[in-house]
Amino acid sequence: MSERAQLLLPIADDELVLGWRNSEWTGIAPFLEEDVAFSSIVQNEIGHARALYQLVADELGTTADALAFDRSPDEYQCSRFVELRLVPDWARTIARHWLYEEADEKRLEALKASDDPEVAGLAAKIDREEAYHRMHAQMWNERLAEEPRYLEALEELRPLVDGRGDHTREFAALWEEMTMVRRSVAGATW
């Protein structure tokens, strides 16, 4: 696998799987504004995943959809952190949102400095959109700053942020659901 694929696939997988997990709030978020916010954030994250997969796909001679949906579970390189199913726990969801955006900002800074102009250019574009995710996370982090359940969730989740390797138990069910259409209808596209 190329250097670019090794660099970008774990990031694309993080964005896809976190997007999938956050989409589980659509329709059932605590109030309407958050239903709208989480659905928009998800749309962006999955858009970022697609653009990252596309850069890898161009090099490997495949497609973004094939990378996103045709790999076996053990080929995904997302962190265990994004795999966790946190619905219906809002405090833990916001804790993950805050921690992820914080870590993602650092990762994007590094990508923006890449020698590969396509990688640096895409990272700069993604970062413009992520700025709004960070502001949303910041707003919630301030709002819940005194909330014990939120503080406990931060303690619990912070050590897990970059835990890669074996998948969590709940990843199998996510993979089943996420790849169902492609497995049922060969070559389905969006």
Partner: protein, 161 residues
């Protein structure tokens, strides 16, 4: 043979799929047009990467070029070259007239929460800057929701990217 000016004019007829009051040229997503014999290369810079209208825009541009009798090549450029600063003055006025507050200029260092919460964003209906942030996100990823205390009307604010 088709000319660059003809291609630009044809692309200017394509409405934005989600905000049809402005054209793709007003939106600033066409970065370049190059004509080489009967082949036309259009450089298309997407707005938001997750925008579901991107494929519709790309296909509409290819169709317009084909209608001019040329072979289209629509190159999607996913870098930082599109910004809301690229929306034309005419495009901004059309957005405002449709009740969508046009984006504020891009600033060094990017947008900040305190600025969204306290900045002087202007209501597209009454012109008051006494407006409040209701939600950073709105009906599409490119918009926020604000409320005007002047005319007591909620409105959509184009995000600055």
């Amino acid at each position: 043979m088709v000319t660059e000016a003809q291609v630009w004019a044809a692309l200017a007829e394509i409405p934005d799929p989600e905000i049809p009051v402005i054209s793709l040229v007003d939106l600033g997503v066409v970065r370049a047009v190059e004509v080489e014999n009967d082949r036309v290369r259009v450089e298309f810079t997407p707005t938001f990467l997750g925008c579901p209208a991107l494929e519709v825009m790309r296909d509409a541009m290819a169709k317009k070029v084909r209608e001019l009798g040329a072979e289209p090549v629509v190159a999607v450029i996913s870098d930082d070259s599109w910004s809301t600063d690229r929306i034309t003055p005419e495009g901004r006025e059309k957005l405002r007239a449709a009740g969508l507050a046009p984006p504020t200029p891009r600033e060094a260092g990017g947008p900040r929460l305190v600025q969204l919460q306290t900045g002087a964003f202007r209501c597209p209906y009454c012109g008051s800057t006494d407006t409040a942030l209701e939600n950073i996100f709105g009906p599409t990823p490119c918009r926020s929701l604000r409320y005007c205390r002047g005319c007591r009307q909620p409105f959509e604010q184009f995000k600055t990217i």
